[in-house]
Assembly symmetry: C2
Homo-oligomer: 574 residues x 2
Amino acid sequence: MRLTRYLPILDWGRRYDRAALSSDLVAAVIVTIMLIPQSLAYAMLAGLPPEAGIYASIAPILLYAVFGTSRALAVGPVAVVSLMTAAAVGEVAQAGTAGYAAAALTLALLSGGMLLAMGLLRMGFIANFLSHPVIAGFITASGILIATSQLRHILGVQAGGDTLPEMLTGLIRALPQTNPVTLAIGAAATAFLFWARKGLKPALIRAGMRPGLAALATRTGPVLAVVATTALVAGLRLDRQGVSVVGAVPQGLPPFTLPALSPDLLGALLLPAALISIIGFVESISVAQTLAAKRRQRIDPDQELVGLGMANLGAAFTGGYPVTGGFARSVVNYDAGAETPAAGAFTAIGLAIAALLLTPLIHYLPNATLAATIIVAVLSLVDFGILRRAWGYSRPDFAAVAATIALTLLAGVEAGVSAGVVLSILLHLAHSARPHVAEVGLMPGSQHFRNIRRHRVETHPAVLTLRVDESLWFANARFLEDYVLDRVTGDTALRDVVLMCSAVNRIDLSALETLESLNHRLRDMGLRLHLSEVKGPVMDRLKTTHLLDDLTGEVFLSQYDAWHSLCGKADAAA
Amino acid sequence: MRLTRYLPILDWGRRYDRAALSSDLVAAVIVTIMLIPQSLAYAMLAGLPPEAGIYASIAPILLYAVFGTSRALAVGPVAVVSLMTAAAVGEVAQAGTAGYAAAALTLALLSGGMLLAMGLLRMGFIANFLSHPVIAGFITASGILIATSQLRHILGVQAGGDTLPEMLTGLIRALPQTNPVTLAIGAAATAFLFWARKGLKPALIRAGMRPGLAALATRTGPVLAVVATTALVAGLRLDRQGVSVVGAVPQGLPPFTLPALSPDLLGALLLPAALISIIGFVESISVAQTLAAKRRQRIDPDQELVGLGMANLGAAFTGGYPVTGGFARSVVNYDAGAETPAAGAFTAIGLAIAALLLTPLIHYLPNATLAATIIVAVLSLVDFGILRRAWGYSRPDFAAVAATIALTLLAGVEAGVSAGVVLSILLHLAHSARPHVAEVGLMPGSQHFRNIRRHRVETHPAVLTLRVDESLWFANARFLEDYVLDRVTGDTALRDVVLMCSAVNRIDLSALETLESLNHRLRDMGLRLHLSEVKGPVMDRLKTTHLLDDLTGEVFLSQYDAWHSLCGKADAAA
């Protein structure tokens, strides 16, 4: 059983049959055709030679098939991680050098090691610490950065930059060098791909194709663009007119590679690798969970970390770069009918055949076409609607999204995502430092106690009941103390204060000290402090301390008991 | 009214009378006598000339008297902040140089500016983000560091270091150079001061002194030690035998000084200044609150930030260094009868007179005596009991304290306090990422719903009720979704899922999206999702979204309504 948990292949592999095999084979053929241009394009986005994209789609897919829990996830290079790789590796090496490719391997190694370690430590919950609006903002801003970064290939000019202002400045400066032939090819490919996305499917259906098949055929748009523009450039030898092409790509299976391991390099790539791991994991798990839910399957986040970790380690030793589960390819894999991770394995075989046989055919593939496929793919990620939704719902959420988008565009991907994470945690902390406390009274004719501000309830002048609606910890305990002391100061009729702890799941040591201090201060004012509805685990812990011995009042099992007992005594005394 | 809030002196000053004046004058005389050796000693600890300690006790006290809200707080140099000053300024300048003193002024300026800004922004709550055990651990470790750092003055040797291993190595290496006369004076002074702390008060009471007076007289121990050892060194000219003395101290009022303002220096001191501000504020506010509670007064944390900020700005422009409210001096001030901040103003006048007239008298004061006063003062701060208490109460609290103590001793004060703060927040976040969710049923004969694992309650096979005991935010929402989906998977009798939201005070945008996704996934499984006991503010916010329109179930005002309605329908359908 344990082995099956760590090697999900033992589970689905045992029940593998002929029907699953044929579904998986069909899906694999379709995904392979789609992945060839996509892999080349994302390798270009990452600043790596085109074969790196193909290699990063072979070993990682096989390893994920063995260790991953999703039936339909397709692992490989994706847009945002490619951009983050370019930003991280660009800091330590010059694009196009051997050192650059070696550093990309190191980044994959670090990222794989981190993911694997987090998986073995069962830290899948870490993905929860990225708020959804922050991720949505980051993806939107990254899409804009990626699309902008590709404009230089469409124009056929040299330009760089890691931030939007840098990129735009570079493009404007390089505009006079625009290569008109490249621009014509790039613009045509972009226009065709946009049309293929929106108009091809209805056209095919009108032509009599089944809707499902038409949807899959639409996915071959990039392949058609690649074939047509490559043939054009090769036929007219447009590369002699300055059209930049992919050029010679080595023919063969992925090589065995060793990542660079100098301490300086490892130190410099540690933080980027952590960010890539987290962002990649979040992107991958959300795709996997969405697809699994459609078939009533469950994903194990901890084992997903292991699967992605192994995939990245695989990429590090076979000439790849950081990979994760991609949205577009996974959806295609799912729609094409993939039933098990074996579909991924067959895709890997298909890509290996492509690496062996097809690379000479892409010599004349124009970079402008690859740029067009990237631009069209990432613009579907851009969704500024998140800003509007966040603004309408809550200001802190809006602040976190706006800061993430602005910083990603103006200061780069690492600054953007870090700021988003830190800001959303700080805003949450600021919020949780003010615990919700309500003064409650008895609902007439019931045993319920509700907020006196919202309901007509019975109260007693000598008894103050405060319902504490959150666990007490160091950041909010003092606020509770201040609230109580402010409330009781000057209220001369008061004799008893009851803290109704029905929503207190935990009291940390700081909060315990604050309760002790509150007890003493109330005693000095001639008031008794009582507790009611203390939960079992909290009570067990309080029993190890002096609080209950020193408490001036009692601990009541239910608030109704407290009310009954205290109001009775107060009236008898009056 | 607003002016009074920002200038509390307008409040108490208006009611100042002859009785308060005489109480304040008596307190001021006692505190002045106590502060002279203490100020000299802490300046030495901070690596500054002795007069800096006196200057840091004059203008800051006066400014705090105008802007502060505590009636008894005495502001000036304190041990921990002096140590932190030495650590911070030691990074940017050589002790004993003019640059060192100027950097200490810059540190006071930055710290004062930050405190003032936080006060004007009403950020007094920030003190709550330091957990009590972490502060206790930090103070304990700082006490050990401070005492160890002073041993070199007792031995009469040169030795340095910012961490415990560095200090101990330096001391052991310097041991052969020990000056026997210095050691004799230092050991005698230390022994006398320890005895004065414990034995002098009982001895005085036995000799017929009133206990209150005896307690105050005990505080003059350091002054007696200073007078005796200074007379001894001056009489026998022991300075010629290698006893290190305070030496020439300029005679006169505090000078007007300008802090150094180079961008490099400001950048290097920014983080230390922030840490000093926070630690100083926390120390000061806890003393002020303790003393105020004894007299049923209240402290305004935001205005305290303003008072401490002004005090530090005052220190920056009058030759001082960072200051805060000190525990020992404030307690003496309180015990001696100080009724208003005017006592502080009179203390400042007393110290100004001392700076004008008494400085020649301390020429022969041995540094070993000052070191002895520091050691005896700070060892009372050391309390390893916090480790035992934290261990007995909760492991996360223990981990935070142990890490703070270990890192403070082994890596210095800044690393220690930063690690403590970050670790305690991370531990809290890790904890709050798993919201408390309980499956509940109806308590027979009541309208109460309690945990089915702890109480005998009624349940219905078609209705699952889950009570959510925490606000939903991005880090815990997914956990709730996983919990619900795990619970319902395979439960074929189930038709309705009710989330009882009585303890949900807030639902952020991420959590809203998770609820929407949960609603869809349950719908796909043929289950309806209901909400009950949603609080008013949460409901108002949900009404701005699509969740309520898309909800497959209903929103019930009370859980009892939900139970009644759903179980009735389920039974009718069966």
